[in-house]
Amino acid sequence: MRSVMCVVVVCVGVSAQTALAADKCLECHGTVGDKPSSLFTRDIHHLKGISCTGCHGGDASAEDMEKAMDRRAGFIGVPKGDDVSAVCARCHSNATTMAGFQSVLPTNQYVLLQSSVHGKLSISGKERIVQCTTCHNAHGIAKVTDPASPVYPVNAVATCARCHGDAKFMRLYNPSLPVDQLAKYRTSVHGVKNAAGDARTAQCASCHGSHDILSVKEVKSKVYPTNIPATCASCHSNAAYMAGYGIPTDQFEKYAKGVHGVALLEKHDLGAPACNNCHGNHGAMPPGVESISKVCGTCHVLNADLFSSSPHKKGFDELGKPECETCHGNHDIVAASNVLLGNFPGAVCSRCHSAQDREKGFVAAGVMRVLIDSLQRADDRARVLVDEAEQKGMEISEAKYKLRDVRQSRLETRTIVHAFSAEKLRETAGKGFATAAGISAEAEHAIDEYYFRRVGLGVATFSITVLAVSLYLYIRRLERKQRQAEAVHY
């Protein structure tokens, strides 16, 4: 078996050498010493035995230059515009041809490129924005795993930045698209490792794709908000792939169960944050302990402001505790509920504020919980009474509308909790208590009115019936008298 293999390898080698020896194009151009022929000598295609005529056509065996570059021999010269990619696609989109070269490359790159954001027409309107050569170069093409390739992971970022870092060029196509992605990337964990030569770390193509890059606005894009967690998870949830990096791989699992994950992935709420909203996208990096409230505060503005001016800010900084994360967690953030608050076991406040110390924070946490629970009970009661009045057919729409104000007050109290001041919370909750009390009174009045109407109807019906019966009896008496009078008359 081994001898058979040796024969095959020797034969393929001899065949390639023969082909190369017969490539008169390279022979002449090599003599001239031009750059394309010089680059082509280390091109993967050259190494696979493909001559210049593979792309340019003509006759590579002809000694005579006129005959070698004769149009009748299929010479096409230097392909222009979309012809460039079409020439590549002649082989790269042909599975049989590619199989002949023992290639394992997919054969749909050309199709994907055409339907990608780069496959749109350029400003000239005559060709697509990007051709294969834009990223892979024309001569001297190397395998993507070859560090010499412009699309080798470590080099890809610079390759993309040739256009995406060029403000003048990008303005022609998308003036609002930033051009500082590379600069940001270099500050990220990914960028730092990439610059250090780590080809496994994420680079542009890892998140955006390669031939199939779509605009971020496209729902199918790998970086469309709802797809981002899965894109990040393709590496970060792969324990084997992440083995050498020493970070957990359960972030996606936790995130998907958390309030943000449920909102984004299940409810498709595009306002909910994906990984990049907290970690950054091109400059992805876990937020530092001291900046967590700022990061969360990009959405939860009031909560962050209240926290920053609260006594907790200083304490957390001194203790080195991450701000929002200490109480709410990070990837697996659960929907905030009243149970987080309070001074009993299970409440997050009690993790630091203990009963033994009887300190101010312990008392305040208890008071705040009582207030927030009481407001919820007042809201529930008002709601029940309004429902009851409505079911009894009473006009209660105004009170029903005001229930929104109580709900708003409850939301405000949940926000004001982040000031960690029982007094401030009491003040905010006070408005909600007053509104809920007003609604309850109105609903109770409507319910009382309902019973009053029934009693009133009973009284009225009875009176009218008595009157009607009396009238009936009166008519009978009257007519009896009339009949008697008539009888006397006759």
Partner: protein, 359 residues
């Protein structure tokens, strides 16, 4: 006590000759026969109309006839005004009972041929009052400016718009523009509280005057009964007291309906919202609405809807003019065709109303 009443009566009599009226009424006799009960529905209709006027005036104290305030003002009446809920509910229920009572009154007159000479004008004024009553219902339905009323008015005025030649101008006139808007509400409000009541009052005065002058119509078989076998009762006080008894019964029914089934307000109309499911007119228009649904879109050379509207128009006109083409009844003959037509119409209206209600 009696002296006070006698003195008061004498005081009024001295000034308006009340005695003449009482004498006139006391000499007026109402025929008593197996169909006498139908006489009371005229009085019931009058009673319900009076309730409508009184409750309507009370509602006017708070109602605001503009698209931005109408709904809210009704909401205010129902939730904040003392007994406002009762007044509004009674007004709404009475409107329906009024149409119902008038329909019974009209059909009883029709089947008894009470329209025959010399009561053609009484019939005409009665029929016109029925049409105006329907106008009251149609215009009043929109006034709360709720979702159902808005779209029902849109559909209703659309149907008016299909009448050839005059339909479109009528529709524009009714709506105050090409669409149902606040302008439609304003003019419907105007029709409801000024134009229609004005015309109705004149017709009612003529109708009542004629009823008093000509007396109650006697059925044909009653007329042929010998005078000594005819049973009658004095209009005053016997008939009037029985009338009053009926009114009390109706008032009781009305109170129960208003309390147990308060008239709902629904949701405020939103002209930009899609029409909700189950849009249909008030029950008394339902038989026509349902009939139009069954007519094919195109029949022979004419649009189905136009044909339907024209047929109903022609039928209404024939019905209105029945005293003038039913000469046989006027001559004292028994015209069975009238009974058959009347029965067909009653069965048709009931069937199509039920179909419209339950389908």
């Amino acid at each position: 006590m009696k002296t006070i009443w006698n003195r008061l009566y004498a005081w009024i009599d001295e000034r308006v000759q009340l005695n003449d009226l009482v004498t006139f009424m006391a000499k007026k006799y109402v025929p008593v026969h197996r169909g006498s009960i139908w006489y009371y529905f005229g009085g019931v209709s009058l009673f319900l109309f009076i309730i409508q006027v009184v409750t309507g005036i009370l509602l006017l104290l708070y109602y605001k006839g503009s698209d931005s305030l109408a709904f809210e003002s009704i909401q205010f009446i129902m939730s904040k005004v003392t007994f406002g809920w009762l007044i509004r509910s009674i007004h709404s229920w009475t409107a329906n009972l009024f149409i119902f009572a008038v329909l019974i009154h009209m059909f009883s007159v029709f089947f008894e041929r009470a329209y025959r000479r010399p009561r053609e004008v009484t019939w005409l004024t009665g029929m016109l009052m029925l049409f105006i009553g329907l106008g009251f219902g149609f215009s009043g339905y929109l006034l709360p400016w709720n979702e159902l009323a808005f779209f029902a008015t849109k559909v209703g005025t659309d149907i008016a718009g299909v009448i050839p030649v005059v339909g479109k101008p009528i529709m524009i006139f009714l709506r105050g523009g090409p669409d149902v808007t606040g302008a439609t509400l304003s003019r419907f409000f105007g029709f409801h509280i000024a134009v229609l009541p004005g015309i109705f009052t004149v017709l009612l005065a003529i109708h009542l005057l004629l009823v008093q002058r000509q007396g109650m119509s006697q059925p044909q078989e009653f007329e042929s009964t010998p005078d000594d076998s005819k049973k009658t009762m004095p209009f005053f006080p016997n008939f009037l007291l029985r009338d009053l008894l009926f009114w009390l019964i109706v008032l009781n029914i009305l109170a129960m309906l208003a309390v147990f089934f308060p008239w709902e307000l629904g949701r405020k109309a939103d002209p930009f919202a899609p029409a909700p499911a189950g849009i249909r007119p008030e029950w008394y228009f339902l038989f026509m609405f349902q009939s139009l649904k069954y007519i094919p879109a195109r029949l022979w050379f004419i649009d189905g809807e136009i044909l339907g509207v024209l047929l109903f128009g022609a039928a209404g006109l024939l019905w209105l003019l029945v005293p003038f083409w039913d000469r046989k009844s006027s001559r004292g003959g028994r015209n069975r065709l009238i009974t058959y037509i009347g029965l067909f119409v009653v069965v048709y209206i009931i069937t199509f109303t039920l179909l419209g209600w339950f389908l």
